[in-house]
Structures are given as C-alpha cells and as structure tokens.
Amino acid sequence: MNTLMHPYVFFAGAAIIAGLLIIARTMSAQILLLASYIVLLASLTWHEFTTLNVIEAQYLKADPLTVTLLSVLTILGAVAAFQGVLYAKHRGDSISHLALHNAALVGFLSMLVGVYLSRHIGLVWAFLEASTLTAAVLIYHNRNRNSVEATWKYVFVCSIGIAIAFAGILFLSIAGSATDAHDLSFEALRAGAHTMDPTWLKISFLFLLAGFSVKLGVVPLFNVDIDAKDAAPSHISALLSSVLMNAGFSAVYRIYSVYSGTSIRPWLNSVLLLCGTLSILAAAVYILKVKNLKRLLAYSSLEHAGIVLIAVGSGAWFAALLHLVLHSFAKSAMFLQYGHYFRLTKSKKINAGGDYLSAHPAGAGVFIVGLLALCAVPPMGTFLSEMLALTTLLGTAWWWWALIIIPLLAVILWAMTKRIVSILYRPRHHTSVNGSRATMSMAMETIPQYALLAVVIWLGFFAPPAVVDFLHRASILHP
C-alpha cells in the first residue's frame, strides 16, 4: 500500500477520477467516483503519515504539517463532496452540471494537496495558481450574475496576487543569487537564507505575503476572497474558508519558517502582527455593517486568519496551527448550516431569518455551538488556541498590540453574537413568506455538522496526547 500510494499515484488517480467524473452521467457513478476519490485522499494521508519527511518526488515531501492539513482536507473534502451532491439534488441541477462541479472539486482538492506537499517555492506557487482556476469553476457553479462577477474578480485578483507573489519569488532569487542557494526549495533556502541580503529578503517576503494573502484571506487582498465565499455554493465557501485558507497558510508559514532562521525574524514577526491586526481590524469594520449572513461568516474567517497570523508572529506556532485546524472545522460547519438557512429563508439576509430555533431546531443548535466556537469560548477548542495566542503575545515585547486586538475581537464577538442570536430568537414577521420549517432530512443533514463541531471540542480539550504531540511537531517547522 505504502509503495503504491506515491503522490504521483495520487495525482494520476485524481486525474483519472476527474476525467471519469466529467463523462459519468449517472448519479450513482458520480457518487461512487467521489467516494473513491475520498478513499484515495485518505490513503494518501495515511501514506504520508507513515512516511514522514521522506522526499518522494523531487520536490514533494510530507512533514507533520502536511499530514495535519491533509487530514483536515480529507475530512472536509468528504463532507463537501457529500454536501455538493445534496446541493445539486436540492437545486435540481442537471447531471452534467454536477459532473463539472465534481470534477472541479476533485481538481481543486488535488491542487491543494499539491500545495501542502510541495517543498519548492515555485511549485507551491504553481499549485496555488492551479487551485485558483479550479476554484473559479466551483465559484461559478451557481451561474448567476453575482457568481459571474465574483468568479471573474476572483480569477483576476488571484492572478494579480500570483503575479505579486511571483515578484516575491524573483526578489528571493535575486537575494539568493548573491549566495550559493540557487535552488528555491525550502531546504536549500533554509540552509542559505542567513547568508542572503536581509533587505532583499524583506522585500521578497512582503511580496510573497501580499501575493498569498489572497489565498489565506487576509489583508491586503482579502476582499475578493470575501466576494468569492459570498458567491460560491455554501459547501464551496466552507472549503474556501478552510482548506484553501490552510493552503495559503501552509505557503506563508513555510516561507516564514525559512526566513525566520535569519536576522530579520523580529521584523517578520512584526509584519505578521501588523498584517494580522489589520485583518482583524478589517473584519471588525465590515462585520459591523454586514447584513448578509454568508459575508458575516466570511469576515469571521478574515478575523480568524488574522488571529492565526498573530499567533505565528508572537511565536505561538502551536496555537496558530491548532486555531487554523479548529477554525476549519467550525467554519465549515457554519457554512454548511448556512446552506440550510438559505434553503429555509431563500435569502442570504440576516433580516430574513428569525425564530430559527423553532424553524430548524437542529440547525439552530449548529449555529449556537458554531457561534461559541467562532467566538472562542469554552468548551470550544478555539478558546484554548486563541487564549494561547493572546497570552503568548502578551508575553512578548509587542504585548501592547493585544490592547488593540482585544477590543476589536470584542467588537466582532458582539456583532456576530447579535446577528446570530437575532436569527435564532427574533420572532418572524407573520406576513413573511419565509415561514417554512425544516424537514426531518434537514435535521439528519446536521449530523456531519455536529460531527465537525464535536471535533472542535474534542481537539481542544479531550485530544489524546499523541494527537497533541503530533500537532506540536507539525507547528515547529525547523527544529
């Protein structure tokens, strides 16, 4: 099995499945193919877990971070694929429409696998660019004006971002050209970084960060990400908010870990803090006026990405990774539940909701627990990671940043709670036509959402030491 499951095998398999998906014209075939892809994904994850830190292709190697993110990807990918089928069923999409969607999904996920596995900065860049294209198909899935605009913008801005990142890579190679490190693989860079010119390094990091920010969904290029999450189907938004963000993180974090071996580490930290703080600020600003539930969730992702960057910047890497993972689960659950919300109210608007507790009791539970997770309060794991991040920050020389961040987090908490609670409790107008109630099947559909949220609690507080230890290893990229 191990030998069989080489990344090449995976990519080949993925390509075949994608191809079959496009031509398969029956629902059962689609489901079968998707399931086989998930199995493929799972076995790759298992394979990489067993062969940690082994260079497999020239530039593909799995470290604990890769495996962690792959696990998340597998779980969320499975849920999203399942949800995608349901989504198509509810919308009554044609099978070809679904086929395209599924193929794009497979492609998208596979590209992210590539991002996670790559050990070469150029390769990372390439996989990310490729993920943009597949993601565009998924965002475009609804085929309405809104999604056209969002897709178009997404592709355009992503390209710009990629271009900026490419400039960053160029600057890096300029920095590296003066030294022996011609190879842009992470190992080579780490070995040679300390000999490079700090100024060039700084510039290249800036460009890389700015370029990849579009994937990570942080300042400065977060806007388009928000628009995309708003326009995409809810299960795709869930993926954009979780695994794609993880991919962005993976890229930025690996670069960061390379550069942090040099003298510019304090500068790197402060830039990340700045970037994180600005993200949280932006989230606070927009979340205050947001009227659209989906955008609310998207802005919340912006906030959490900011927290992750702050955790990285203040040195709480474990907290950063934990937060990233937990957020992936929590936010996915929320986005999936948003799908139910939309089905019940036929609207993205928060105002359209109300008395969700009676309309969809099971879904209301997801919203409540999800809200708690996103607000990082006990007994949610996010509480632990956020607390670790902030207390670590308080222990650094930059402790006063916390005085800016904490009030902003409070504002976000207030705004989110207010909106979600109003969806849950505010009595609906009797004149409203959106008085429909959830069906039993919808209640059953919340089971995966609860499962995701259960992971958030479990990982936070009852995780076995082995898992915690593995996460610890994953968060420390350079010994």
């Binding site: 801005v157 209301a364 539970g365 308080l394």
Partner: protein
C-alpha cells in the same frame, strides 16, 4: 421543557451532592482538598469549600424552582432550546465550582469564561423579546471584555514566571509591582461582581433572565467576583492601600446600587440593583478586612470577614426568595412593572408573604438574616472609627455611614417594591386575575427563607461552623467576645420574633370581642376614588431621586403646562430610568467606537482596482514603517 430541566435539576443535585461532601470535609477538618485532573491541579481550601457550598445551595434552589417555573412557561420551546437551557444550567453550576477550585490562572480563565457563556445562554431563554436579547448580548460583551483582565494577567505572569499557578502569581506580585497583575484581575472580578462603575450589565441582565436564573446569578454568580477579589487580594499580601481602594469602590457601589434600586419600577431590576448594593457592601467589608490586616487589627479583620461570609450566605438565600417571588409575580401577572401591579396580597398571598419576608431580610432589619450579616460590618466599622489613626478612623466613619444610608435607602426601595407592587389596590387588571403558582414553586423559597431564618437566630453557630473559613482568610482565631455578641444578637432576634408573636396573640385576645367594621379606605368622603389615587412606583421614588439626582439618570418625558395655559389638555407623563454609567459613559463610548469603525468601512468599495491597490499600499506602508524603524 419541563422534563429536560428535570434532568438538569437531577444532574445539578448530583453535582451538588458530590462536591458538597469534600467541601464539608474541608470545612470540618480544615485540610485542603486537592486533586489532579488531567494535567491540572484543583485545590479547595476552606474558603473555596465555603464557596462550593454557597454555589451548591444556590444552584439547587434555582434548579428546584426552575423545574416548576418552567412547567408554567407559556412559550412553546423546541428541543434544542430545552437542551440548551438545561445544559447551560448544569454547565453554569459546574463552571462556578470550577472557578472556586481552580489553582491556576488558566483553569480560572477557562471556568470563568465557561461561567459567562453558560449564564449568557441561560439569559437567552427569553431572547424572543428584543429587550432580553439586547441585554443578553450586552452581557456577554461586557463579560468578555472583563475576562480580558484574566487573560492579561496570564500573559504577564506566564511570560515572567513560566507558569500561572496561584503560587507563581504570588511570587510575581512579590517580585514585580503588584498592581500590574492585580489591576487586570480586579477589572475582571469587579465586572462580574457588578462593582461601580462596571455594574451596568447587571440590572438589564437580571431583568432579562428567567427568574430562577436571575436568582442564581444574583445570589451566587456575582459573588464569584467577590471571591476573586478576596482570593487574589490575599495572594498578593493585601495592603491598607488595596483595602482602601476596595472600601471606596464598595461604598460607591453600595450607595449607587441602592439609590438606583429606588428609581426602578421594574421589579426585577430593582432587585438587581439591590444586588449591586449588596455586592458593594461585601466588597466594602473585604476592603475593611484588608485595611485591618494592613494595620494589624485582628478583631476588625475577623469581624469584617464574618460580615463578608454571613452576607454572602444571607444574600444568596434572600435573593433566591426575592427573585423567585418576582418570577411568580411575573408568571401570575405577565408584567414586572410595579406601576401595573398592586393589591397582589389579595390574589397571590403565598407569593407576597415570601416577598414580604424577603424584603424584611434584604433591608437588614432586626429579626432577619440581613441584620446579623450587617452587624459584624458595623462592628468592624465602629471599631475602625476607634482606631488611633485619623485617616483610618475616617474610613470607619465612611463605612458606617454607608451601611446606615444603604439600610435607609433599602427601606425605601423595598417598601416601594412590596408596598407599591403587592399592597394597596390593583392598578391594572393584571393583578386581579393573578393567582399563586403551585405550592411546589414556593417550596424552594421557603427552604431558602428557612435557611435565612436559621442564620438570623443562630449567627454565632454559623460563625463557629465557618471558623475554618475565617481562619483561612485571616489566619487568626475568632475572638471570643465577637462570638458572644453575635450569640446575643441571635438570641435577641429570636426574642423579638417570639415577643411579636406574644403581643399579636394578646392583641387578638383583646380585640376578640370588639366589633370590627369594614369600609373603604379613608378618601375624604370622595366616592369615585380609584386606583389612580395611590402612589405609583414612579412617584414613590420621586423625592429620593430628586435628592440623589447626581447619581441617577431618570429622564422625564412630559410637556410642562405653560403658566399662561389656563386650560391644559390631557397629557401624559412618562419617565424612563436609565443607568447613569451605561447611559452617560459606556453607551456614548460604544457608539463612538462603532462610529469610527463604520467610518473606516468606506474602504470596501467593491471596486477591483482599489482591491489591487491595497496590496501595493500594504507593501508601501510596511516599507515606510520599516524605514521609519517602527517595525
């Protein structure tokens, strides 16, 4: 709903039972209980054990009441809601116990937040009403901001000491400036305790919460704020300065709370402000104890601690009685507005009797537990007046004057609550159709009142039983004459109650043969008198509010009659009581912050060019900041 909560009630009882046994053991043996759960150590010394018992009693009372209260709940609730409510209740109970047995800041923070969030979820019960929803959200926001204090303390202590156990906090305070760690913690605790000026969440939240929860929050949860202040005050070797600060804050809180209680016409808000007052008294007494420790006056210290301990007990029991009575009234009449009540004693005698007894108790009148719990506070105050230092003596004067003023105001507040709400004639139809709830609803109330009565007649016994707690707090033994004084007070109270009984019997005997006629209340012979000829909650408070206008915020909407207007048309008179601090400080602040943030939102243009521009702006900004050596 009822069934779910019954499960919660049973779980709560189990928790109470399981935790009370070690707590009692600790109190009896004086040996601290300690256990490692996971990687965390939990410790219960005698003070924690005392708090555990307080929490258990309060929670069990609330749970018992809640079972029946929720059975009368008129709204249809979904299963999610029921489960949420029950779970949150149990979580709150457990989290409160967690708070008092934590021995490091991490677990404290965890339980603290858990306590906030579970109480928030409990408050959400009635969130279908906009007011309750707003109150709940304000509550969680303020709690969240407050809890940041603990977070900050964790940050400082852990970075400096490499850990956050209480002993490390102690070491940190000893080696650094104490206030760096104490101040943020104090903010968190003061927020929870509802200390002035951080009290503004309390009245709204208590009013919004279902009554069993209000009682629990007011009787128990806010006490944990005081617990935190005491715990960390003691950890950091309290000084006279710290004591003075707490004393002053306590005084401000007590007076502010009770004056504003008078202004309320919402029965539950009135009770909530009274809780603010009582927290003020407790914290004032804590301050007194710290001062006494600073000047090495053991008698005063013990007296002050006795006051704290007895008052925590007394307030927990009496507030349960009062809030649960308010709950009965709310269910019976569907209103909390005193201006709509009146005459309840004829339709809901069972509830009003309890309200009366509770009112006597909370006003600290002789014959009640309130009197014995304030008595040691007076002892410490008067004794402090007699100290040699002028400044210390004046602090004593302040505390004594506060106690007596608070007592006087409490009389006004609770004669208002009872006299306007329950006595007289009905002001609207609501009280006429009300009736007492099922007797089981009143069972926990009588239980609580019985406990309070027991404290009232045997305070000495309680203090003896809690000597371990007092020793734990002060490391000193209780002076003998303090015990005798308290014993005498208890006997005196018993005598008072008995003599009232005897005189009442004598009166019955004397008037047995006398003719008794019944007639309308004297109204100067006017025949068309109606309920309008009665003081209302608003006008009853008017004079006090006028005297105390600097600390109250009552807005009147009423168009004055012009002097030249000889024949005024009918007009209406409305008042609205707001919280001075919330209305004049926090709300403008929040609005200001929101306005600034909203102003920043212009950056979201939807224009793609500007999106891309941001990337370059970001890069340029970082470059500039780097060149300026800011980064």
């Amino acid at each position: 709903m009822r069934l779910t909560f019954m499960v919660a009630c049973v779980v709560s009882l189990v928790i109470a039972f399981v935790t009370s046994i070690p707590a009692v053991t600790v109190l009896v043996t004086g040996m601290a209980w300690s256990a490692d759960i996971g990687s965390v150590t939990y410790v219960a010394d005698s003070f924690s054990a005392f708090m555990v018992l307080v929490i258990n009693t309060g929670s069990v009372l609330a749970a018992l009441y809640g079972v029946r209260y929720l059975a009368d709940d008129p709204d249809g609730r979904s299963l999610t809601e029921s489960i949420l409510h029950g779970t949150s209740f149990v979580a709150l109970h457990a989290a409160m116990i967690g708070v008092v047995i934590s021995s490091d800041l991490y677990s404290l923070f965890y339980f603290w937040e858990a306590m906030s969030i579970s109480s928030f979820l409990l408050v959400l019960f009635d969130a279908r009403q906009t007011k309750a929803r707003t109150a709940a959200i304000r509550y969680i926001l303020q709690m969240h901001i407050g809890a940041v204090g603990i977070l900050v303390a964790i940050g400082f202590v852990s970075s400096a000491m490499g850990g956050v156990t209480y002993s490390l906090v102690h070491d940190y305070a000893a080696s650094h400036q104490t206030w760096i760690v104490l101040l943020p913690l104090a903010v968190a605790f003061a927020m929870k305790a509802g200390l002035f000026p951080l009290h503004s969440w309390l009245p709204d939240t208590h009013a919004a919460a279902p009554s069993h929860v209000s009682g629990l929050m007011s009787g128990v949860m806010i006490k944990l704020g005081a617990y935190g202040l005491i715990r960390f005050g003691l950890l950091t070797d309290p000084s006279t300065e710290l004591g003075t600060v707490l004393l002053v804050i306590g005084i401000a809180t007590a007076l502010f709370g009770i004056v504003n209680a008078i202004g309320q016409r919402d029965l539950k808000k009135l009770l909530a402000y009274s809780s603010v007052e009582n927290m003020g008294l407790i914290v004032m007494s804590v301050g007194m104890a710290f001062i006494a420790r600073g000047i090495d006056a053991p008698y005063i210290e013990i007296a002050a601690w006795s006051g704290v301990v007895l008052h925590i007990l007394h307030h927990m029991l009496i507030k349960a009685v009062l809030f649960q009575s308010a709950g009965n009234i709310l269910h019976g009449t569907h209103t909390r507005d005193l201006n709509n009540l009146g005459g309840l004693i004829h339709t809901m005698p069972g509830t009003v009797n309890l309200l009366l007894l509770g009112g006597l108790g909370i006003s600290a009148l002789p014959g009640s537990s309130g009197f014995v719990s304030e008595f040691p506070m007076y002892i410490s105050g008067i004794k402090t007046m007699m100290m040699s230092s002028t400044s210390i003596s004046m602090l004593g004067v302040f505390s004594v004057v506060t106690l007596c003023l608070a007592g006087g105001f409490a009389i006004i507040a609770f004669t208002k609550a009872i006299g306007i709400g329950a006595l007289g004639t009905a002001r609207t139809k609501a009280p006429l159709t009300a009736h007492d709830p099922h007797w089981t609803t009143r069972f926990p109330q009588w239980l609580a009142f019985g406990g309070a009565l027991f404290i009232a007649v045997a305070p000495g016994m309680f203090i003896r039983a809690l000597s371990g707690v007092l020793y734990g707090l002060s490391e000193k033994h209780i002076p003998h004459d303090l015990l005798t004084t308290l014993d005498t007070v208890g006997i005196g109270q018993a005598v008072l109650i008995i003599v009232v009984g005897i005189v009442w019997l004598l009166r019955m005997l004397a008037t047995r043969t006398k003719p008794v006629a019944e007639g309308p209340t004297w109204g100067c012979g006017f025949q068309e008198g109606d309920a309008r000829i009665q003081y209302t909650a608003t006008t009853y408070a008017d004079s006090t509010i006028e005297i105390m206008s600097p600390v109250t915020d009552v807005s009147v909407s009423y168009r004055h009659i012009d002097p030249a207007d000889m024949f005024p048309r009918t007009r209406s008179y409305h008042t609205e009581e707001k919280d001075l601090i919330a209305n004049k400080v926090f709300d403008p602040l929040a609005i200001g912050v929101e306005r600034v943030l909203r102003a920043l939102a212009v950056l979201q243009s939807g224009n793609m060019r500007s999106y891309i521009l941001y990337a370059f702006v970001f890069i340029v900004v970082v470059v500039v900041l780097t060149l300026a050596e800011v980064l």
